[in-house]
Subunit: 341 residues, 2 copies
DNA sequence: GTGAAAGCGCTAACAC
DNA sequence: GTGTTAGCGCTTTCAC
């Protein structure tokens, strides 16, 4: 790799002049000297060694990103959002992937193992002098094992923490739950069956709370009998769709697309028209929601924006406004599964 | 951030001693001095500045990864494979995401725009002194715009190049096509309908060639009438499944899971038993293949291994054995859609 | 056992 | 306009 020194020698000038010219400092050299330097640099395929530059400037222009698992569907989009924002501001993103899903599956109970892995990644990032760290979870929940004497900014994406020194960026599950329910009510439905995830899930609680709020605002009594708790699987959708329909529900709101797809299957198997007669909503805007027939109405998660916002917090915030929690809106997408009035 | 200098001052020793102790050089200091140094370092939350270290060692221990688009399904797994291998060998992976899909959709025709973007990312990586670069494509094809006077190793993952100085790592589409066809033949089928992607696609050509090879080896005449060219969409599967079945085919081999899902839909709509009567195979092992009922038999792509192998090539290969092309095997997964004999 | 010093590539303050 | 120089944090050689 060519260095500034080599160029200086070849051009018969000092390194300072080369540095100045290459950094576009106007009038740093006579015009013909300047272009000679630039020519030499080009011919040598010169690119400045960023490590040397960072060392001397005492600023890394790096932000660290710790992903619980890069292969889980939400994560690449969030990373993409962070990366875009970094590019915009001349920052570099350093990725550390913990491979939780590969290691632990969907079992998030082994906190100690998670913690020890995470601390290793944090210290690796710290040695790269990152100016801030963003932690991306696969599944929204409280993260409790991040030390707070880290002397860099820290933000949680798709999760949160009780640590008041750290910020978090989440989607607004409750609002989306509210909006979807309102749509269903506006189509004349009052008995809206809900297929939740597990009761302890943050997503379940928030979306359900939005559902309840919308019913309340519409003057409809909340009935716990219209609510079932599944485990995010397609089969749960199938089973509970049957139960809810048979107990009189006329619309289905499943808390993810997989269960909504299962619900569709049951209605199709029983020759009940999906859409106009029985509208169905899912959640997440996963690929399957477009794959099913009819295509499933759903809520698209603001993943890119979550990433972008987290990065903004690291890069732009003063410490005052920092330690907040931000809720970004989902976009409700109506498709054939909720068509008609 | 604490430095070696501060520690040296606090411990009343020189930086050299601190460096030696912290790097575990035995006998670099008296035992009680050594533990004092270690204590101080710990209390200061010291982590060595990797930029300084890299600068002084003249070795970055970094490899660059350029992704066409991180949000396309194949990419995170390949990245994961690269990252794992890097970790193993003490390397850091630097990611550059070009966002092709976000920018161009599935149109790969604007070569100039791709090239100019790509060159920018290459030069960014070069300035980080990477020891090699891996290029990850979304869709397998020939990549022609990488300069070959880069003086770092270069590997193509999920794509290839005619550049003889560069290596490439791909999955073995042909072999998978062969194996799936053989399975179908072994179940007694001789008229096996194929729903390909577009004719110009590398995947189409290789998989089809495997199909032809298997027929040939089984003494079955290849019949072009049993082959349809779709566009990877579910609807293509639906339409061509009908055509193929009605023209006498008794098994379907679709070149991706989406089209296989479409095929399933047509058979289900027409009350034809999928599996025992008409076996169906997809390709890719996407999420939808497990989502469909019956679950779709398919070929799982060796994405993680492609990443891992690429990284190995960068890190371990001598220049001799380097410039090869590697084909990694897919894993055939039999599910309900090809059940029975 | 411990330390002084050079040097990695770069930038910036300051001289000339 | 151009050059000299110090120094970023670290490792390593060589004295003592």
């Amino acid at each position: 790799m060519a260095t500034i020194k080599q160029i200086a020698k070849m051009a018969n000038v000092s390194v300072a002049t080369v540095s100045n010219v290459l950094n576009g400092r106007a009038g740093a050299a006579g015009p013909e000297k300047a272009s000679e330097i630039i020519e030499i640099a080009k011919s040598l395929n010169y690119t400045a060694n960023v490590f040397a530059r960072r060392l001397q400037q005492g600023k890394s222009n790096c932000i660290g990103v710790i992903t619980e698992d890069l292969t889980v569907f939400n994560t690449p989009y969030i990373v993409d959002g962070i990366d875009s924002k970094c590019k915009e501001n001349g920052y570099e993103m350093i990725l550390e992937n913990m491979r939780f899903f590969q290691r632990f599956g969907i079992d998030f109970s082994n906190i100690e193992a998670q913690k020890s892995l995470c601390l290793k990644h944090i210290s690796s990032l710290l040695s790269k002098q990152v100016e801030g760290i963003i932690y991306i979870a696969n599944h929204c929940r409280e993260i409790s094992y991040i030390p707070d004497e880290l002397n860099v900014k820290f933000a949680y994406a798709y999760c949160y923490s009780s640590n008041k020194k750290h910020a978090s960026v989440l989607m607004d599950d409750e609002k989306a739950g509210y909006e979807i329910t309102k749509i269903l009510v506006s189509k004349g439905h009052t008995k809206i069956g809900v297929i939740c995830g597990p009761l302890f899930s943050y997503h379940t609680q928030k979306r359900l709370s939005g559902y309840q709020g919308a019913l309340f605002d519409s003057g409809i009594l909340y009935n716990a009998k219209n609510v079932r708790y599944g485990n995010w699987k397609k089969d749960d959708g199938y089973v509970y769709a049957k139960e809810l329909y048979e107990s009189g529900c006329t619309a289905i709101f499943a808390f993810n697309d997989l269960m909504a797809g299962g619900a569709e299957d049951w209605f199709r198997d029983n020759n009940i028209e999906i859409g106009k007669t029985v509208p169905i909503f899912g959640f997440d805007d996963r690929e399957v929601s477009r794959f099913c027939s009819p295509q499933i109405s759903t809520a698209a998660l603001p993943l890119f924006d979550i990433g972008k916002k987290s990065a903004e917090l690291i890069m732009n915030s003063d410490s005052e406004s920092y330690c907040e929690s931000f809720l970004l809106p989902c976009s409700i997408i109506e498709r054939a599964s909720s068509e008609g009035n």
